[in-house]
């Protein structure tokens, strides 16, 4: 799948990480991210989704193993150089920020000493916030705020986005909207995206899914191969059934869990 002409953008090789000295949280974790891939991280609370994203973005340093970004060890990058290639958005975004939308989005240019020819208006238009560019962040809806931060990452120009639960706490309308926007970005700009999420229905439409339990990978690959009834039971500790219809649609049957 990956070759000399199509190398992985990000490689996580035998990573180990612990929050407490005597208790490993992540052990021997390895995976690759290819150009333009959309990868979903699924797992119960505390399974390691956020930790993996923070390791991959360099916020946390692994105790063992190595992370490579475009073939070069992540920790050898200068902060500003790394920021031009990789961008991380946390799950909790401060809602009390005193900035205007345009000010926030322009911060995406901070890694550049000489800003590239990317116009803030273009990014705002792409996320559908051009008419709210002078609004305060505090006055935006949850979905709009999320889109404003995504516009900031667009300006940053990174080819790899690491998103921690970008759909959390949003109405279904905004979840679909953000999801549509991310797919559009991937197609137009060939951006690779790794995102943690909870909704299995969304994950069913990703290129690749990683199912996690207690800091280890239960399965990684195409959604139909990984999101099986057995693996989901093991990962989430609940009986779920993936229904596949003849028309090609898929949905989750919660069965007797209600």
């Amino acid at each position: 799948m990956y070759s000399e002409h199509n190398p992985p953008i990000l490689e996580l090789d035998s990573l180990g990480f612990r929050y407490f000295k005597d208790k490993p949280f992540i052990n021997e974790l390895s995976f690759f991210v290819g150009n333009g891939e959309l990868i979903g991280l699924l797992g119960a609370n505390g399974s390691g989704k956020s930790t993996i994203l923070k390791l991959a973005s360099g916020i946390l340093r692994p105790a063992e193993g190595q992370i490579k970004l475009w073939g070069k060890p992540l920790h050898l990058y200068k902060n500003k150089d790394r920021a031009k290639l990789l961008c991380y958005l946390p799950q909790l975004l401060d809602i009390n920020l005193p900035f205007k939308v345009r000010e926030l989005v322009s911060m995406g240019l901070y890694p550049y000493d000489i800003p590239p020819e990317i116009r803030v208006d273009e990014a705002l238009e792409m996320v559908g916030l051009l008419d709210k560019s002078e609004s305060n962040i505090t006055n935006l809806s949850g979905g709009e705020r999320r889109r404003a931060f995504i516009a900031m990452t667009l300006i940053q120009g990174a080819g790899l986005l690491l998103l921690d639960e970008p759909l959390a706490n949003l109405d279904i309308k905004y979840q679909l909207e953000i999801q549509r926007l991310l797919r559009e970005l991937r197609e137009k700009k060939n951006i690779s995206i790794i995102m943690a999420l909870h909704d299995i229905n969304f994950a069913l439409h990703f290129d690749k899914v990683m199912l996690l339990k207690e800091g280890r990978i239960l399965g990684i690959g195409k959604p139909e191969a990984v999101l099986t009834n057995d693996l989901l039971k093991e990962a989430l500790d609940v009986n779920l059934e993936i229904k596949r219809e003849d028309s090609g649609g898929t949905f989750i049957n919660y069965g007797n869990n209600f």
Binding site: D81, N96, P98, M107
Partner: protein
Amino acid sequence: MSKIKISLLIVISISIFLISLYLGPNVINPFHINDIEKEILLSIRLPRVIVAALMGMALGASGAVLQAILRNPLADPYILGISSGAAVSAAFGILSGSYFFGKFGVPLTAFAGASIASVVVGAFGWKQGRMLPERLLLAGVGLSFLFYAVLMLLISMSSSEGIRRAVLWIFGDLSIADWSLIPYGVVFIIAGLCISLFRAKALNALMLGDDLAHSLGFSVQKERLLLFISVSLMTSASVSLGGTIGFIGLLIPHIVRFVTGADSRILIPVSAVCGGAFLCISDLIGRSIVSPMEIPSGIITAIIGSPYFLYLLRKKDVLGT
């Protein structure tokens, strides 16, 4: 529109600086100055106004930086215990009457106290290679209480005439200002201002949260430490020049934010200029209204500032929420 407003603020601030030179208990006509007035202007008024402007600049800028690095709208340069550390050591010097450095005694002891307090607060705020805003804030509040307790103990146990002088100093005493203090005040305050201005982008990013600041290419701990050092330099120098003057660091950045927005690259310099002007005018009022007595500037800043701040709080959304 905001560019016009910012320009207007700066013009008003410079005008206040000039006006406070010529107004006071004795009004000096700038177009007809005799020798005595020239002497008053150059030896008394000018150094005093420069000291007021420097102190106000330091406090206004420090407030803007601290509210951002601590991510707390109620933060001001004194919340970290730097001023109370200065107050204890300066009061000890004043009350014990033991000065080895002549007129530099009070500023030097105050600066030493402020610097020691900064290092102690910084050490408490530091854990596992990280400077944590919440720890910094709590350590500052805790240390302030301790320092004030020691200060009250010193004052209550003292029977010397120094008590009045110590109390005046604590509320901000600009009457001690003269040329000899200005050069070192300028060095520390300009150094602090330059650090905070050069790191203003990082400060904006830190307001988004540590993880986003990292993602935008900043070394979070290094930036926070640098900005903390800039605040410590400015606050220590300000306190040692003329005592602890409250409210400027809290109030001015909030008022300026209405006009400039929250971008630190503009907020910090405009807060500095407006802070300087505000202290100049407070000092002018303090030395004029009950002349020949003087009201400490710290009292005037609070008397003018508090009602205006409460008015703004009621009228507009000061805290950005």
